[in-house]
């Protein structure tokens, strides 16, 4: 499903957190929201999911104007913190979230088997989450996010605090989910991860400074490193040419 963000601004009180952002996430792609922490990535994700309504502008997922309760059935969300019930077993966590999506019992059972296999937690299904390692919790969190086979998946800093080996494994899983036709929006402040994505939106202080395919973005830099684009943007902001996209 395509996600269209058009002229979207979001203010909390006097502070403008998102400043007039325009871009479209293509269906079936992995789109990366790249930016330093505090730049507005999480707010943008919450806007796209429809948890909060934009102050101005519109957001469409497919043809549906967000926020929309029914469309939440098509959306998967993996929050920044693991957001798991630590007192419950891995399977009970999955059972609970599955029942919230009103999945049919037999379907749910089958899906739980599938997602546990995807995130490689089948052996640990009966363990309570509080004995899980950080990596296992992340994987379970991902399993919950994809349990109801969402058409759009939002991942908020999914690899923060994860060791390189597990990070590669998790990205491998994202690619598999993408191959199944799911549109993925992933936020990160790790610049290296951008090469895993199809397109990247560079966000700086609530403004979209660049949005292009990753190949094009890298071609724009001299060193082939994405950091350069942020340094350019911050220089431009200091010179007073604010909120104008680069190039």
């Amino acid at each position: 499903m395509k996600i269209r963000v058009a002229g979207t601004t979001k203010s909390f009180g006097q502070t403008e957190v998102i400043r007039h952002i325009d871009f479209t996430v293509m269906s079936g792609e992995i789109c990366c929201l790249l930016g330093p922490s505090g730049s507005g990535k999480t707010t943008l994700i919450r806007l796209m999911i429809g948890a909060i309504a934009p102050s101005t502008g519109t957001i469409h997922i497919g043809d549906t104007l967000m926020p929309n309760m029914t469309l939440l059935n098509e959306i998967g969300f993996m929050p920044q913190n693991n957001a798991l019930y630590e007192d419950l077993t891995a399977e009970d966590n999955l059972l609970f979230f599955g029942s919230v999506y009103k999945l049919e019992k037999s379907v749910l059972k089958q899906r739980i088997e599938e997602v546990l296999k995807i995130v490689d937690l089948t052996a640990h299904r009966q363990k309570r989450v509080h004995v899980f390692s950080g990596g296992m919790k992340k994987r379970l969190s991902l399993a919950i996010a994809i349990l109801h086979q969402p058409k759009v998946l939002f991942l908020d800093e999914p690899t923060v605090g994860i060791d390189p080996v597990l990070r590669r494994e998790i990205w491998h899983q994202f690619h598999r989910i993408k191959q199944a036709g799911t549109t993925i929006v992933v936020s990160t402040h790790v610049m290296d991860e951008v090469i895993e994505c199809d397109r990247a939106a560079l966000i700086y202080e609530g403004t979209l400074i660049e949005y292009d395919t990753v190949d094009n973005l890298l071609a724009k830099t001299q060193t082939g490193r994405v950091e350069e684009l942020f340094i350019l943007a911050s220089d431009q902001l200091k010179e007073g040419t604010t909120h104008e996209p680069l190039s």
């Binding site: 429809g50 929050p79 957001a83 630590e86 007192d87 419950l88 009970d92 609970f96 029942s99 919230v100």
Partner: protein, 339 residues
């Protein structure tokens, strides 16, 4: 909605401390209160002079006291009491009348005074006074007359703490946010939670009522099922109250820090202190305290032996509280999702 309730139940059952706190802690505390406020077999020590008339000595000896006849004359009873710490009262006879000196206004002193008065009235039947109460009897312990307050107090407090902590955890660990990124309704979340904890509230209510009435033998004149109904409503209020307080706390520690504002004032206005005795009409503050409604209703049933028509006002108070807190909680979830 019932999935949520089921999850809350499973989660609470998995956490042994929560179960203990809801089911065992009130029983433990009620037992302690029973022992602290229950019948006492304390024998007061009373000192008289040798010169005391014989008929008075005989009368005093018939009472349940330890009587000491001092050989010397006691010039200053106050000094005597200070010097002899085991003595509760000095009772002197002179031609001008009696002189009773007690150590301090305490239960021990009043027991001594009661025994002396009983002795006096046995010599002089004309001054004999028969005391009787509309509700209860003279041989009732403090536990019988005040125990009902603790019933509602402990029930409310335990459920409040468990619920507030659970909600704080949901907020800080992000599960509440994640839950609201699913198509669940905000009202379903609050309702599910309330239902889940209600199951424990019912279990708790049954347990503590049966325990106080049948094991601790607290006198109850009314219908036990009405008491259960009151406790259930009170516990439901406690669940929602805890959820509301969790909005103002970002950690379990802060829930504890808020107890002086949330629970302790309610203890004062629960009926432990007779509300008519509170100055400046501050007794009216009780109308904003949920425990007051619960305790008052239970008092009507257990102490006065009244039925539903005497408590419906208190029950409506609790229902109103539940409604208001429910609305506040559903609105508070807007932080995570507007719709």
């Amino acid at each position: 909605m019932n999935h949520l309730a089921k999850r809350v139940i499973r989660q609470t059952l998995n956490d042994k401390r929560s179960v203990m706190m809801i089911l065992i802690a009130p029983l433990l505390l009620l037992t302690l209160i029973y022992l602290l406020l229950g019948d006492t077999d304390y024998v007061p020590v009373i000192v008289i002079e040798e010169a005391t008339p014989q008929n008075l000595v005989t009368a005093l000896n018939k009472q349940d006291i330890e009587l000491i006849q001092e050989k010397q004359t006691i010039t200053s009873p106050k000094t005597y009491l200070t010097d002899n710490e085991h003595v509760d009262a000095v009772f002197l006879y002179s031609d001008n009348g009696f002189d009773m000196t007690l150590r301090e206004p305490s239960t021990k002193s009043s027991t001594a005074a009661k025994e002396i008065q009983a002795a006096l009235s046995s010599i002089n039947p004309a001054s004999k006074m028969e005391t009787s109460y509309v509700h209860g009897s003279t041989d009732q312990s403090t536990f019988d007359s005040l125990g009902y307050v603790f019933l509602s107090l402990f029930s409310f407090f335990m459920v409040f703490v468990i619920s507030a902590m659970a909600f704080v955890k949901e907020r800080s660990e992000g599960t509440l946010e994640r839950l609201l990124m699913t198509p669940i309704k905000r009202s379903e979340v609050i309702l599910g939670y309330t239902m889940g904890y209600s199951v424990f509230a019912i279990a708790q209510a049954i347990l503590i009522v049966l325990y106080t009435v049948y094991i601790l033998q607290m006198s109850s004149n009314g219908n036990i099922f009405l008491v259960l109904l009151v406790l259930l409503l009170l516990a439901t209020t406690a669940v929602l109250f805890g959820a509301t307080i969790s909005v103002f706390a970002s950690s379990a520690l802060q829930v504890v820090q808020l107890i002086p504002f949330t629970i302790i004032p309610q203890v004062f206005f629960s009926g432990l202190i007779s509300l008519d005795l509170i100055p400046y009409h501050l007794g009216n503050l009780s109308y904003i305290m949920p425990i007051f409604y619960g305790a008052s209703a239970i008092k009507e049933i257990m102490v006065y032996g009244n039925g539903f028509d005497a408590i419906w006002g208190y029950l409506s108070g609790l229902l109103l509280y539940i409604l208001v807190l429910y609305t506040i909680n559903v609105r508070a979830l807007k932080k995570f999702r507007n719709a």
